[in-house]
Structures are given as C-alpha cells and as structure tokens.
C-alpha cells in the first residue's frame, strides 16, 4: 500500500538577482532544498518543522504541484506530483496562508461556493458540503458564514481556509502554518479539529510549523528541516530522547526594545553555550531558553541573573525543565555547543 505522501531526495534551487548599482545585477543561486526525503503514512498527523527559510514552504509547494523540483520525486497516494499533477490535486486539500487567499468582497459562504464550483462540485451536494464544513470549523457558530471576508478576524480567516481545504473531502490535507498568528483559543480549535480528522481514520494531515508546542501536542511523526535538509526524523518521543542528556533553562524577562538587537549573541558570549533561543511573549516580555548539560545550570543561571540585573532588566521567572521538542529543535538547528 502506497504511503500518503512520499518525498525522495527533493532538490530545488532558486535563481535570484542581486542589484549592484542602478543597472548591474548579479545572479545568485539559493539552494532551498538539498535532498529532502520523508514519508507520511495514511491517517497520521505529520509535522514538518523548521525555522524561517528552512525550506518548509518550498517542500509544500512541490508536494502540492505548485512548484517543479529540480531533482528527486514526490508522490501523494502513489501519484507523481509532476507527471500526475491533476490526480494529486484531486486528492489534496491545501492551506498556504491563513491571512489571505479569498475574495474580500464575498462572504465566507460565497467564497466557499466559488472554490467548490471551481473543483467541480455542484447542486445540493455542494450546498451540503458548505454547510457541513462551515459547521465543522465553527464559523456557523460564530455567525460569520454570511459576513464579508473583509470583516473577518484572523481566527475566522484561518477557519475559512481550513473549511476550503476540507470542502471536496480530500483524503490528504497539506497545511502550511495553519495556526500562525492566531489567538490561543482559535489555534486550539484548529489543532483539535486536525487531530479529530486524523483520528477518525480517513484523513492524513501534513502541517508545517515552527511552533514546537503545537507539534508536540498533535503530531504523530515529525521531521525537522534546516537549511534545505532534513536533520531529524521520528516520533516526538524519539526526538526528545536526543536531548535526554540536557537540561533546559527558561527565563522570562522584561527587556527594553533597544537591548533586543544582538541579545542572542550576547548571551552566547556570556554563557559559552550556543543553544540559545529568544521568543517574544505577551506583555512585552521575552522568553529566553538555554539548553545546558547537567551540572552547568547553576553557573549559567548565576551568570545570566548577574548580567540581567546589572542592565536593569526585570526577571519574572526562572525555571529548570525537562527537555522538550523545542529544546531538541534548538540543539539541532543551532548545531550544538559541545558536540551536541
């Protein structure tokens, strides 16, 4: 039995032109994918994780037939994405961006009707599917089905994007960052729905995300992609074992805006550890995550607190945690400080 999605050694280079002066331009080759391979089994939620510019969207575009690979091959339910592109498009539901992709002056229901017609759905079946998906994603409940798209909040837009992907009842869903920018409640609704669809047994879901918490919560298997290469692949638990010999330090700090620039490099220099990540959270606070080896944590915390206080930064919380998928991600994408 063919897997739901199979990518074998995908290679993609982009040609860009860098302007040098008014007329002169130089040609630049950007290697977006450098031999990406992975398999997604039927009925699972698969997460393709990676930082910005890692190659996630390029992979998705190739799998969804929107982009031709330079080398390698990809199949969806056994159909080749290049030679059998039309068959592939029949069996996939796609969301590429949750904040656009609809007609602003049409209502949610009208937009779905338009895209349903474009897929060959018609008559009462189309109307039934529209009602069903509007209910499934909660837009009916929110009273937004007959509102103009221009009046939608980002959460509603994300729900409508998912509704469109589900409209023709495809067996495979391919969703590029389906919860990016959403408020926690909307993101949770989308996540729960994706898990429900996959667990019901008739849908396979591939999502790309850089939200490790989300991946940990819903994905059966994950692949981490960085600089166009898959650098880790397995279940969430398998990947977490890669960081079993580490501890994770988390500091929640209020940092003045002018200090944020180059902060990561400063922390690396201060602690001697390269596995550092910053994340802006609510109320202007910043979460600093540092992955260390057992025994190093006290020294690192002491150094950090000393530096933060000397720069008049307010520390709200300090925690030492078990490594999470996010820590694995930090270790793998930053290359590891000491042989990690």
């Amino acid at each position: 039995m063919a897997p739901a999605i199979e990518a074998k050694n995908l290679v993609k280079n982009y040609v860009t032109w860098e302007r040098k002066g008014f007329i002169k331009r130089t040609r630049k080759i950007v290697q977006a994918l450098r031999g990406v391979s992975f398999t997604v089994e039927k009925g699972e939620v698969f997460g393709l994780l990676g930082p910005n510019g890692a190659g996630k969207t390029t992979t998705v575009k190739i799998i969804t037939t929107l982009l031709l690979p330079d080398d390698g091959e990809a199949r969806v339910l056994g159909y080749d994405v290049v030679s059998e592109a039309e068959k592939v498009r029949e069996v996939i539901g796609v969301t590429l961006s949750v904040e656009k992709g609809f007609f602003w002056k049409l209502t949610g229901r009208e937009n779905l009707k338009y895209f349903g017609m474009l897929r060959g759905l018609k008559g009462s079946y189309l109307n039934e599917r529209i009602e069903y998906v509007l209910g499934l994603v909660g837009l009916k409940e929110l009273g937004a089905a007959d509102k103009l798209y221009e009046e939608y909040s980002l959460g509603m837009k994300a729900r409508l994007a998912l509704a469109r992907a589900l409209l023709h009842d495809p067996p495979v869903l391919i969703l590029d960052e389906p919860t990016i920018g959403l408020d926690p409640a909307s993101a949770r609704t989308i996540r729960e729905l994706l898990v429900k669809l996959a667990r019901s047994g008739d849908k396979t879901v591939l999502i790309t995300t850089h939200n490790m918490f989300e991946a940990e919560l819903i994905c059966d298997h994950v692949a981490i992609i960085d600089k166009g290469k898959i650098i880790a692949y397995g279940t969430v638990e398998e990947l977490k074992r890669k960081a079993a010999d580490r501890v994770s330090l988390e500091l929640i700090v209020s940092i003045p805006k002018n200090m944020l620039n180059g902060l990561e490099e400063k922390i690396v220099a201060l602690t001697g550890l390269r596995e550092v990540a910053l994340e802006a959270i609510e109320s202007g606070r910043t979460r600093i995550r540092i992955v260390a080896r057992p025994g190093e944590e006290e020294y690192v915390i002491e150094k950090m607190l000393e530096w933060l206080y000397s720069n008049n930064m307010k520390v709200h919380q300090v925690r030492i945690k078990e490594p999470s998928l996010e820590d694995v991600f930090i270790i793998l994408t930053k290359g590891g400080s000491r042989g990690g």
Binding site: I92, K105, E110, M117, G120, K122
Partner: protein, 270 residues
C-alpha cells in the same frame, strides 16, 4: 471527479455576480461611465469646434450618440483586457492564484476560462448602459443599431481575449510589480479612433491601430451610425479582419500560456 470547462465558467460567473451584488457602487459606476466620458469629451470638444465640424470630419449623423456608443465600446474592450489580462495579477494580489492553480485541470484552462464570464458580463453592461441614450436619440432604430454594436463587440472579444492572454502570460512570468496591461490600456485608447479620426495620428500609430481589434469594432460602429441601413459588405470586411486577428492572437496566446506555466512552476513566483 474531474473538472469540466463549464464548471470553471460557472465559478467565474458566480464570482462576478456575487462581487457585483456586494459592490453596488461599482455597478452604478459601470452604468454611468459612458455618459460621463461622453459629457467630458463633448465639453472639451466644444472648446475647439462645433458639432458641425465634428460631423463633417467623422462623417456621422449624431455625434453625441456616436461618442456615447464609442465610449461604451472602449469601456467594454478595456473591461475585457482588464479582466482577462490582469486576472492572474489580481489573483496573485489576493492570494487566490495558488488555489486557482490547485484546480485539478490544466492551469491555462483555468486562467483563460475563469475570467471569461466576468469579461462578457461587464462588456455587455458597458454597451447596454448606452441603451437609454440610443433610444432617446433614435428610438427603436437606435436600440437596433446598438444591438448590432453589441454583436460586433462580442466578435471583437475573440481576438481581444487572445491579446489579453498574451499579456497575462507576460505578467505571470514577470514579478508582481509588472503590469503589462497598464501600458496597453492607454495605447488602445489612443489608437482606437473612437474619439478622433485615425488619420490625424502619426503614421506609426495608424499602422499600430490595425493590430488592435478595438479599432475595427469602432470602425464598424461608425458604419452602423452613419447609414440608416448598415452597409453589410463593409461589415463583412471588418468581420474577416477580426477573424484573422482572432486566429493570430489566440495561436500566439496558447503558446505563450503553456510556456509561462512551465516558467512559473520552475521559478516559483506564485
């Protein structure tokens, strides 16, 4: 499942109707546009000369109706160019282009068929908007003449669609900021001969006018407006010219669009 051409046309038609229903001001502006243009041209024209001079130079009986019908034709032609040629660009701005391309059929089929109902509908509206004016000046005969003009516009649509697809292909391959139709629109206005005789233009523009279908439709309209019974033989010549342009533009368009599909999918500009 499979997607038929009629499915794409139905979707395009539904999208256009829903869009007009939710944009009533746009609908209103489409109706009054020929009248506003005609008013402006007549007001400007009066500064330079009388109606009599205009009648003599263009050999027409009713300058107001002629300008009104001409504005409708130009508006309809521009609608077609605008709807078909800038369709890909419009969808790219909206972010709907990838979803159009995800339709399980050939990309060129979607890009050609999807805007057609909108183009047809808006060009029909452009001409029908002139109907009250035509009835006012010439009664039922005016309405009949306008019907012939509408048929000519439909005939002229065929080469215009080909031309628009060529423009769409170029627009699709180039980056977002390149809108080829923006260069084409004023050129069509200039050489259409609707507002002034073509022989007052420089020679190079006169030759250029021969490759734009709009010029032939306007010429045919002048024949319809000049004689109470249209000179059918002359209209046939116009029809042959439009047919030749249809074959030429649509032939080039099919090559251009399949080439641009490959380039777009290779370069990833979607």
């Amino acid at each position: 499942m499979g997607v038929k051409s009629t499915d794409i046309l139905r979707a395009g038609f539904f999208g256009m109707i829903a869009w007009l229903k939710n944009n009533r001001w746009l609908l209103f502006s489409m109706i009054i546009w020929p009248y506003l243009t005609a008013f402006l041209l007549i007001a400007l024209g009066m500064i330079y000369g009388s109606f009599e001079t205009y009648k003599e130079r263009l050999n027409i009986a009713n300058p107001i109706l002629y300008i009104l019908a001409g504005s409708g034709i130009v508006m309809s032609s521009l609608f077609i160019i605008d709807t078909v040629a800038t369709n890909a660009l419009y969808h790219r701005w909206l972010g709907t282009l990838p979803y159009l391309m995800l339709t399980p059929t050939k990309m060129y089929k979607v890009l050609v068929l999807e805007p057609l109902p909108g183009a047809l509908l808006s060009s029909t509206m452009g001409i029908l908007a002139v109907l009250p004016g035509a009835v006012y000046f010439e009664g039922l005969l005016g309405a009949g003449k306008l019907l012939i003009v509408l048929l000519l516009v439909y005939m002229g649509m065929l080469p215009l669609i080909g031309l628009s697809i060529i423009v769409a292909s170029i627009t699709l391959v180039l980056r977002e900021e390149s809108n080829v139709a923006a260069f084409l629109t004023p050129l069509i206005l200039l050489v259409s001969s609707v507002f002034y005789p073509i022989d007052v233009l420089p020679k190079v523009l006169q030759y250029m006018s021969r490759i734009f279908p709009t010029s032939y439709i306007v010429e045919a309209t002048r024949m319809v407006a000049t004689y109470s019974i249209p000179e059918f033989r002359a209209l046939f010549i116009v029809a042959y010219a439009l047919l030749a342009l249809t074959l030429f533009y649509n032939g080039v368009a099919s090559i251009a669009l399949s080439g641009s599909e490959k380039m777009v999918k290779k370069s990833g500009v979607i």
